[in-house]
Amino acid sequence: MAHSVRRDAPELPDFSLLKRLARDQLIYLLEQLPGRKDLFIEADLMSPLDRIANVITLKQHDVDKLYKVEYKPIVSTSDQLCFLIRPRIKTVKWICDVVNTDKAFGRFRRYKIIFSPQKFYACENLLEEQGIFGDVTTDEWSFYLLPLDDDIISLELPEFFRDNFLEGDQRWVRTAGSALHLLHSVYGPFSKVYGIGRCSKMAYESWREQVEEGEQRARQAEIGNVFLIDRDVDLVTPLCSQVVYEGLVDDIFRIKCGCVEFGPDVTSSDKSIKVMLNSQDKVFNEIRNEHFSQVFGFLSQKARNLQTAYDKRSGMDIKQMKTFVSEELKGLKQEHRLLSLHIGASESMMKKKTKQDFQELLKTEHSLLEGFEIRECISYIEEHINRQVSMVESMRLLCLLSLTENGLLPKDYRSLKAQFLQSYGIDHLLTFSNLKQLGLLVEQQPGETLTVMESRVGKLVNDKTAGKLTDAFSSLSKKSNFRALGRRLNLVPKSDEEYDLRVPRDMAYIFSGAYIPLSCKLIEQVLERDGWTGLEEVTRMLNGHEFAVTAGSNGSDARVKTDSQRIILVMFLGGCTFSEISALRFLGREKGLKFIVVTTAITNSARLLESMLDNHA
């Protein structure tokens, strides 16, 4: 790789411990319902569960059959049913129906609900309302954290973004706090915590509370500093097209829980193959953070190397051949398989992405980020809508336009919306209402007249008691201030300079040199300054809620600059993209730091916007 790796980069802590903890607890919970039982698993929990305990492990603990929760009447002959679910009203309601049906048929079974990662009062309340509180036993599987890779840990809560930022429902904040607490108790104590965003602040407070309640043990810290960031601090970055290999794979094939399914067009056979994408995959590990334009060259070089390795065979005698077969061949074969898969994937992406319209799309995006030729961009978006290119894509561009321009001109706002509705259906009226509420797609407000809603929010904000609490609505009056932020933080490099993607000089390489992700830039700046001093104007534009707290308060620890001080845990509340992870890895290499990314879920533009849709019942 072209990057100069600083040799003193610290080792990452071993996160497989988290998996072991989760597995042991699950087994314990399963054994709380002795005897054979059928297990119903919520769809979203299947992949995470698969990473923790496989079917054999489950069978060893008396699980008879496994079912996916499908909200349909069940066909199970077992006398004991165990449900492994997320604490959602819909699922609990379904379980109530199952139990009540059994009751109506006079069938006696034992039921156990295991909520992961925690149960909510609302769920128990529902059980009570439905009159089955006494018939079921409930438990919590505190499976907060799923390590997806050496440096990525996910809470696997995709609904976090919508629930928290759109609906103002803060139920997951405590979950985030508990997750942080778990990390703290296993890998802590943390010495310093930084953060920005309201939700971050709440998660931080919830964590502090849990620390104070629990017992403290002095141990060797494996993680030094923590940075918490709300997704709505930076909505621009996740809406940009990803061009780093891993991000691109996610955009096109959708990586699910660290695993991707390559279809027949990639595998060049008639079967689909599921592939785990993590640092265990040697080939992938080397290209994941690369700009896509560099990947093909790298892969062909790799292929040549592989060929040379194979070619060694020709000049060998029997003995050498024997050692070759026993020692190297297997590794080569493995590498060969992976290489061909990634070449296939790259080819398939090339087909989709090097086409004219993708280049134009990127050009438009870059113009939006730079703030040039906005008119052209608008007509490009218009054409996109008129030609009915994918709905999410059109919406993405609209949002990007609104975010970078601080809202659309009223005329554009109306006409684009009208065209959008004609193209994709009236039901997106509700989606627009959501986008507006979140501040993703808004109308530019003429300075003096405030809408009714805003004045109401203003009133509430002035109200002393409500002051702390009304920020849920503050997004209504929120402006993205992207331009000003970009200037202040130098997010958009000057476009006239040629950007050499082979030798990235800053984090902008993840967007072809057009834009340094705001989220990552903030992290860089705060770590550099050891706090928010000097960034006052930036935080004001980001709606504040920034904090920097010395958590350890242990004087002697602070002085010793240990390895753990250079391990930084970044927690994204509301999801983060693979591009951001790549950018942080780059930053880590530059500064001799190691970043661990904890996120409520891996997101990308499509997932983010799909969560905003409201066109289904």
């Binding site: 429902d169 919830s206 919306k417 193209s423 994709y424 209402s433 609490l469």
Partner: protein, 845 residues
């Protein structure tokens, strides 16, 4: 030190000793005569109920509570019904069992706590006798009624009355009875004349003690040991039978030669007892009988009461309080006259050493020769624990410490912890505190319980001192004591809220793990709501504040506290509570001021109660959300009419919200729906529910050009879009003729600029054709493309030469490079050269 053995009396192999614990501080005129007495084990308090001097209806009995040293703790006239029995619970509460079966509970200071009843049947039949007993489940009460029926309550804190089966032939009270706890079951053992029965939940079983002398014809008294393992029976023939409580073994039988029924009979044992015995008390005589045939007899000069302990018997009299116990073997070894046990020698050695005599060395050498110095130290330490006099304790400990010096690897812990324990024990044994605990009892009871007992006695400073001295973890020790102190403090009615809250916060400020909510709850129980709220302010955990606030009906405050905590479960708890407590209007108003709670409730309603959601928006005059609500509802509606009416409601709401855009969009949707329905009916198309674009597309592909035109006009579809749609539809149908016609048609819409027209419809033409793999058709339109688009168009149809031409013509370096990258060096050599040339000329410019 010979005097130590002065009060020792031999019983078989063992010795018994009687130590004076206290000279009683009380001044009882008639001693314990005519008194109902109850003394709690583990050196607990003593309660007396004195019958009035002259039995007259007006005089009331006096209830008095004393510490073990006779210090008065409470005293008040008894105003309730006649009391049959007094007893103490494990938490130092006084139980007063009345004749009518009501049990009243008082605390140590005579404050009434609560009462319960032993059943309805008792009210008529009266309680004849009652007993209070302790078991692993807590404190229990057993009674026998006038109808000769037994009723049991195993744990008075979790009251479950069990009426035991009838005993055959029993009239009135049995001659004697006792409560047994065996095999995790509580049973009653009773004697009716010579017959013994065991009563359990279901049956009444007659039993015979093995080897009971036949000359007895009635069992007049019985005693069960502290551990419920042993039983002693006293017969009218003066025989004492001792055996196991399961009637499997007999220990011994002793003829006491006293035929009068004893007043009281208790077991006197200790762990690792050599000679367990039973202490029998008559009016003037106290007799200790063990396995051997000898007995020890003491004369009693005053009315007394025996209290069974884990390791002996306490004898409480009118003027003295004594402890009778078997001398522990460690003490025996050391103090027995002419003992040569290692401990005794060490003690002697130390004594000589203090006298600076060389004999010390001789003794020490003797111990060391037998290499039993470790044992000697251990014995001295252990014996110190059993001694009551601080002087003797000190002597023994000094000797142990002296011996320790000559040992290199003797672990220090036993010695250190014994010193600590004794310090604690001596301080609680003090006359003012009056808890005469032995070391054995202390170990059994644990420090935590001792602290609790001190706290019950409101001896907070001592309790805190002990916690600090023993370094008990804060949340178990100091904090707990402080919490009790605060709970007691808030009950002081005369002090104002402010000063109490202040005092509490100052004292508790720095202590860890204090639960202010518990203190507040106590304050609330005493009717001091304001104080409770003030105290709750100090509670850092909102989870603890909220339930109490709800209980105190401070729901608004509870809601804001819950929201502050960030714990949605708490918020939800309050919301559910409010929903049930308040009327709808107030409830909604409350929510309106709390956005977090509001959004949480909205989430709930979305899943559970759609209609409530509507009401909620209505209340808020939130027309925008109402509009959205109707739109959403319209999707679910299958019937078109209903759907339209829902949409109409949405239009109205959007208009009220002054959201003209949304209103118009919804109106158009209604228009479209009507249009689709008409067409579906007329032409049998399935258009209903499609978007405008999809409708147009469907119409165009099905050759309903006229209808499409109409829609295009009615909905003011932008021209660009319409042209595009039409082209796509035509290309999909492979209708190239129609497309050519359309392209050439002069029917171009209003305001079409020529360049725009080219730019717009010809470029798409090419793409559409390419998409349909019709390069031939596409070629037709390439010429119409604007110059800027030409290279792209040529490339799109795979015409390299054309692209090269166009690029060279335009002299654009970038475009030439694009074409170059598509050329392959083998087949297009000529073209390559031309392009390279052109590029270099273009570059020069």
């Amino acid at each position: 030190m010979a005097f130590i053995t002065a009060n020792w009396n031999p019983l078989g192999e063992a010795f018994y000793r009687k130590i004076e614990l206290y000279e009683m501080g009380w001044s009882l005129r008639d001693g314990l005569k005519e008194c109902l007495v109850a003394a709690a084990p583990y050196g607990g308090p003593i309660a007396l109920l004195r019958q009035p001097q002259r039995p007259s209806s007006s005089a009331r009995p006096q209830l008095e509570i004393y510490s073990s040293s006779g210090v008065n703790m409470a005293s008040f006239p008894w105003k309730s019904g006649p009391v049959r029995q007094l007893g103490w619970t494990v938490c130092d509460d006084l139980l007063c069992i009345q004749e009518d079966g009501t049990v009243l509970i008082y605390d140590l200071f005579g404050a009434f706590k609560r009462h319960f009843s032993m059943g309805n049947e008792v009210v008529q039949n009266q309680v004849l006798e009652a007993k209070v007993f302790h078991s692993p489940y807590g404190t229990g009460v057993a009674i026998v009624t006038g109808a000769s029926r037994f009723t049991l309550a195993t744990n008075i804190d979790d009251l479950k009355l069990r009426r035991l089966p009838e005993v055959p032939g029993l009239q009135g009270a049995p001659s004697c009875w006792a409560v047994l706890t065996q095999d995790r079951q509580t049973k009653v053992l009773l004697a009716n004349g010579a017959d013994l029965y065991i009563l359990d939940n279901t049956s009444c079983t007659p039993v015979t003690p093995p080897g009971l002398s036949p000359q007895a014809c009635s069992i007049v008294n019985m005693a069960v040991s502290f551990s419920y393992k042993y039983l002693a029976l006293f017969t009218d023939s003066g025989h004492l039978w001792m055996g196991s409580a399961n009637f499997k073994d007999k220990l011994s039988e002793v003829d006491t030669k006293v035929r009068t029924p004893p007043k009281q009979m208790v077991w006197c044992r200790r762990p690792k007892s050599q000679q367990p015995s039973v202490v029998i008390m008559w009016d003037r005589l106290l007799l200790v009988a063990g396995e051997c045939t000898d007995t020890i007899q003491y004369t009693l000069d005053e009315e007394s009461v025996c209290v069974a302990e884990l390791d002996g018997v306490r004898i409480v009299g009118g003027s003295r309080h004594e402890l009778l116990q078997e001398v522990p073997s460690a003490c025996q070894d050391i103090f027995k006259i002419a003992s040569m046990a290692p401990g005794a020698l060490l003690l002697e050695a130390h004594k000589e050493y203090e006298k600076s005599s060389q004999k010390a060395d001789e003794y020490l050498r003797e111990i060391k020769e037998q290499s039993v110095l470790g044992e000697a130290v251990r014995q001295c330490v252990e014996a110190a624990g059993y001694e009551h006099e601080p002087e003797t304790q000190k002597t023994l400990l000094r000797a142990a410490s002296f011996g320790k010096c000559f040992l290199s690897n003797y672990p220090p812990e036993p010695f250190v912890s014994m010193c600590r324990d004794l310090k604690v024990l001596n301080s609680v044994r003090d006359y003012t505190v009056g808890i005469p605990l032995t070391h054995t009892q202390y170990k059994q009871m644990t420090v935590q319980v001792l602290i609790d007992r001190l706290v019950y006695r409101k001896l907070y400073p001592l309790a805190i001192e002990i916690c600090r001295y023993l370094k008990t973890p804060e949340y178990q020790g100091v904090s707990r004591v402080l919490k009790h102190w605060a709970c007691c403090k808030v009950q002081q009615k005369e002090e104002p809220d402010e000063s109490i809250a202040h005092a509490v916060s100052v004292k508790l400020g720095e202590a860890a793990g204090i639960s202010y909510s518990e203190i507040a709850a106590r304050a609330y129980e005493c009717g001091r709501t304001e104080l409770a709220i003030k105290l709750l302010e100090f509670e850092p955990r909102s989870g603890e504040q909220v339930p109490l606030l709800l209980k105190m009906k401070r729901s608004q405050l509870a809601l804001s506290k819950a929201i502050e905590s960030g714990d949605t479960d708490l918020v939800y708890t309050v919301v559910t509570y409010l929903k049930n407590e308040m009327n709808r209007g107030d409830f909604f108003m409350t929510l309106r001021n709390q956005p977090v709670a509001l959004s949480l409730y909205r989430q709930f309603c979305k899943h559970q109660e759609q209609d409530t959601l509507k009401d909620l928006f209505n209340q808020d005059d939130d027309h925008q959300e109402l509009g959205n609500f109707y739109v959403k509802a319209s999707y679910k509606e299958k019937k078109l009419e209903a759907r339209l009416s829902l949409l109409q409601s949405a239009v109205d709401e959007y208009n009220k919200a002054r959201n003209e855009f949304a209103a118009k969009a919804t109106e158009e949707e209604m228009k479209l729906l009507r249009f689709q329905r008409r067409l579906d009916e007329e032409k049998g198309e399935a258009l209903l529910g499609l978007s405008l674009q999809e409708t147009l597309h469907a119409l165009l592909t099905s050759n309903f050009h006229k209808q499409a035109e109409q829609l295009y006009r009615d909905f003011r579809v932008p021209d660009k879009r319409y042209w595009w749609l039409k082209l796509t539809a035509l290309a999909e149908k492979d209708d190239w003729e129609e497309m050519e016609k359309f392209a050439k048609s002069k029917k171009s819409p209003i305001g079409y600029l020529v360049c725009c027209l080219y730019n717009l419809y010809t470029k798409p033409f090419v793409e559409v054709c390419v998409k349909q793999h019709n390069k031939y058709e596409a070629k037709k339109y390439v010429s119409k493309v604007t110059p800027e688009q030409k290279v792209k168009a040529h490339l799109a149809i795979g015409d390299l030469e054309g692209a090269a031409e166009a690029a060279i013509e335009r002299r654009s370096e970038g475009e030439i490079s694009t074409v170059l990258s598509r050329c392959s060096p083998t087949t297009d050599r000529a073209l390559l050269e031309r392009l390279n040339r052109a590029r270099s000329t273009a570059a020069k410019k």
